[in-house]
Amino acid sequence: MIGNILAYTSAACLFMAVGGCAVFQGSISRSPASTQPDATVNERYDSDGELSSGDSASIMKSGPAVQALINQANDHIANEDFQNAAVTLERALRIESKNPELYSRLAGVMLLQGQPDEAESLAKRSNSLSEKRPDLQYKNWTIISRALRSRGENASADAAEMRANQLKRLAGE
């Protein structure tokens, strides 16, 4: 169970602004779960500097209103107020209803809320809108893989993780 929460956290953390994530990580690292095997996975994603640069590049595509709401959502996440983070991202989605970034972030929040089914669906929806966006697709496949693993579908989760890693390399190029 705690492992699951950690898994959600690590994946969802990919989507937070650096500050928001740091706050959230702080609270997680105090939990005993950080000593569990999953922690290595956690570190692997958290220490990824390339990703955050890819992240900011994609953020540029959102309009200022949506960007302001993303920042608000990140503040909510930093305060572990996932419900209001979701409310704020949905508000942003009403403004840019085809913005794959927003679906992806919302998928991350669903993972944090312990709703892997919703997370998976939203990540897939994000993928369907993120043609030529390997950076975003990488995040989505990471979320999908986490969601699958939390449901015990390990083989599918492995496949999704492989896909994520391929995309990560692609995004790095």
Binding site: G63, A65, A86, S121
Partner: protein, 779 residues
């Protein structure tokens, strides 16, 4: 009346002891009387306290529209914003003067928004300047600090209340929210010594008795505010002496237990101030909206005086029906305000000359949009008990977009009249229903239940279940296209005569709308664009009718229609909202999102209760849906839906489908742009022929509604497993010599020869200009 007194008992018992002599009967009686009076007082005390402390009022649920979001880049005409502000009861002024006022200038608008508590917290009032350029918001400036803002939202429009059939309505106020002038003015007019007395005011009673005796009738009541509250709160309206005594006792008890402010707050919320049909208007909060369409905090001095004056007799001084009387009463109140030093005497004459400021049409108590609120109510069922909806003061935040709703109503009504006139149909017989959704997010933005939009009766959008005719065809073609090795857009279908024996033994010979057959080489996408029936039935039989039912279920149909051949032509019934659900899944590229009318429910104190979050799941492979959508765009560019482009800009890609049932009974249209989906049904309640096809009836209304909305072009993302192949549509084969003659057709990757360079990399929009040749080719 003479009555013989019964002999005194003591004379009958002269031999009793001294003890009994010490208890003369009148003492016994008095003691019993005191005991009873005490018990009665204790009983009243209990009643006063339990009723006052419990839920004091049953509060109807408040239903709100979506709040308007304003941000730079938003497509919004200044005029549309002004309309929204007027709907919300904001006042156009020369200079900003408090929340709820705006200044409308050329290319910009200044406004002070009202504070409002949303699900995610309080949004304080803001002083903003909104600049416009080419029908967009170009800048949002916070005038408090001259900084540019990113986004803000207005307070949401209250669109109605859910309350029992006959009931009281009110907007609860805390005493801190009530303007001082109203409180002081109320005391000046009704109870000058409110702060000093103990529930009853002997001075004022004596004065009243004196005045009444002099007049020979009751002209003045000596009731304090506390007594009035007791009367309204606990007692009946009859004027008997026992009731008066009861009232006085309870008033004193109330004062013993509660502070003056608590009593005053209860009074301000309880006082009866008017009648709107079966709805009783209680409290100053609601009265302010009912008479002035704005919150109490925004009332001017004269408006406060009118409300305070009306306490004496809300129907006697009804400002809508008794203008003169009400004006006199207001002016009397204003004079009392001056006498108490609440306003300056210098302003009195000017104030007396002012008009009452009462809005002609009171904001509808139930709702302007009964069909939509009906949907809200149904979606709340199962989550909330009916009793809670009508008594707990819930705040329900819905997805209704007031402007979309008003346009949908207006276009539907206007064009039904036009249709009846231009086609020589009997007037007033046609009925219609419409649903508009947001596509992504599945929000119901507007719902029209019939041409009488104020009627809360038969809701056709939800309950008129009619055969859907050709609206079913996309499901037939999608079933085929999801077998890409067998079917593509250019697969040739057979549209020659077909004779069938139905499962029930009846023979069936499907016919085309034009009563002709079109040969055995009709490309699949042409068959859909032209809505050919015979080729569609053959296709449906080929893929299997049960598979078509399965597709419909995947797209969001809840029931299981009988899997008979005529299903391929829509010989089963659906309500407009159900159709919207299925088409919404197509519009999102295969993602099912349950259609919702509610976003959030908050308690009366604005605590979050429940939320209806965005839910979606992939219902269908995106490849086949993408290809189907391409064909449904051809319906609009060159097929049965093309007249939409006489209303809507050709730059906007649309996808959709007409539907017509036997003998022209039902006329349907369902279609979408990138951001709006609409379903329109036209027919007759008695199910006799409407004499309209989908194209001549529903489509005409659909296009006129859509033309009023801010549409985004339908530009679905091409899935990875789809490839565009240039074909000469005349030949339906590869031709890589001349791009002008070719058109990019989507195919599932791996099912066609992909060795041909697409004409325009990544583009599929060259289909825009295909209308003419398609028409020529398949006339």
């Amino acid at each position: 009346m003479a009555r013989k007194k019964s002999p005194p008992k003591k004379k009958q018992a002269p031999s009793r002891s001294w003890g009994s002599a010490l208890w003369p009967p009148f003492v016994v009686l008095a003691s019993i009387g005191i005991l009873l009076a005490t018990m009665y007082t204790v009983y009243l005390d209990h009643r006063v306290r339990s009723q006052f402390e419990g839920a004091r009022w049953s509060l109807p649920a408040k239903v709100y529209a979506r709040p308007m979001e304003i941000y730079p880049g938003l497509r919004l005409k200044q005029k549309v914003l002004v309309e929204e502000l007027n709907r919300l009861g904001y006042r156009s002024v020369a200079a900003l003067s408090g929340p709820g006022t705006y200044v409308d200038s050329k290319d910009n608008l200044k406004v002070i928004t009202r504070q409002f508590r949303f699900w995610d917290g309080l949004q304080p009032e803001k002083q903003l300047q909104i600049n416009f350029a080419s029908d967009r918001v170009s800048k949002l400036i916070d005038l408090a600090n001259d900084k540019e803002g990113h986004i803000t939202r207005l307070d949401p429009l209250l669109i109605g209340s859910i309350y029992p059939v006959k009931g009281e309505d009110r907007i609860l106020l805390r005493i801190s929210e009530v303007p001082e002038l109203l409180i002081d003015g109320l005391m000046a007019v009704e109870d000058r010594d409110f702060r000093g007395h103990f529930g009853v005011d002997p001075k004022s009673i004596i004065r009243a008795v004196f005045v009444n005796l002099k007049a020979g009738r009751v002209v003045q009541g000596g009731s304090t505010l506390t007594q009035q509250l007791v009367k309204n709160f606990f007692l009946t309206r009859d004027r008997t002496i026992t009731r008066k005594i009861k009232e006085a006792i309870m008033a004193v008890l109330l004062e013993l237990h509660y502070s003056k402010d608590e009593i005053l707050e209860a009074y301000l919320n309880e006082v009866y101030l008017g009648q709107d049909g079966a709805r009783a208007i209680h409290g100053f909060g609601l009265a302010s909206h009912y008479y002035f369409n704005k919150p109490l905090s925004e009332l001017r001095v004269e408006e406060v005086a009118l409300l305070v004056g009306m306490v004496k007799g809300p129907s006697f001084y009804d400002p809508r029906r008794r203008l003169e009387r009400a004006t006199q009463r207001r002016n009397t109140a204003l004079e009392m305000f001056v006498n108490e030093g609440l306003i300056e005497v210098e302003s009195l004459d000017a104030r007396k000359k002012k008009s009452l400021g009462v809005v002609k049409q009171p904001p509808q108590g139930t709702t302007h949009f009964p069909a939509f609120v009906d949907l809200v109510r149904r979606q709340l069922r199962g989550h909330y008990r009916e009793a809670d909806l009508t008594s707990e003061g819930l705040q329900i935040f819905t997805t209704l977009d007031p402007r979309t709703q008003q346009e949908a109503e207006k276009q539907l009504k206007t064009h039904l009249n036009v249709l009846e006139k231009s086609r020589g149909l009997p007037s007033g017989k046609l009925e219609a229903a419409a649903v508009i959704t947001s596509v992504d997010g599945g929000e119901v933005l507007a719902l029209v239940g019939g041409r009488d939009t104020s009627y809360a009766g038969f809701n056709r959008a939800l309950d008129a279940r009619r055969p859907i005719g050709s609206l079913v065809k996309p499901a037939v073609y999608l079933t085929a296209l999801s077998r890409p090795h067998r079917y593509s857009l250019v697969t040739l279908l057979n549209d020659e005569a077909l004779y069938l024996i139905q499962p029930n033994g009846d023979p069936w010979e499907p016919k085309n709308y034009d009563k002709e057959y079109h040969g055995d080489e009709v490309p699949l996408y042409i068959s859909l664009a032209k809505s050919y029936n015979v080729s569609t039935v053959r296709l449906g039989l080929d893929v299997g009718i049960p598979s078509v039912v399965e597709t419909l279920n995947k797209l969001g149909l809840k029931g299981k229609p009988m899997a008979v051949p005529s299903l391929a032509l829509g010989a089963f019934e659906m309500a407009p909202l159900e159709v919207a659900q299925i088409y919404n899944t197509l519009a999102t590229g295969g993602y099912y999102t349950p259609l919702l009318s509610i976003r959030e429910v908050l308690s009366k104190n604005s605590e979050p209760l429940s939320r209806y979050p965005l839910r979606l799941r992939q219902a269908y492979d995106d490849g086949p849906v993408y290809i189907l959508n391409w064909a449904m765009e051809q319906v609009m560019r060159a097929g049965t839906g093309k007249s939409a482009y006489s209303q809507i800009s050709k730059d906007i890609n649309l996808a959709g489908k007409t539907g017509t049932t036997d003998d022209l009974r039902d006329s349907w249209f369902a279609g979408y742009s990138g951001n709006r989906l609409g379903v329109v049904w036209v027919g007759r309640d008695d199910n006799s022929p409407a004499k309209l096809s989908g194209a001549t009836g529903a489509l005409q209304i659909w296009s006129r509604i859509m033309a009023q909305l801010e549409l985004e072009s339908f530009e679905p993302n091409m899935p990875d497993n789809v490839v565009m192949i240039p074909l000469d549509p005349g030949e339906i084969e590869h031709d890589d010599e001349d791009c002008d003659q070719r058109m990019n057709f989507p195919f599932i990757r791996g099912t066609v020869d992909e060795d041909i360079e697409p004409c325009e990399e990544g583009s599929r929009r060259d289909s825009k200009s295909t209308g003419n040749w398609l028409l020529d080719l398949f006339r």
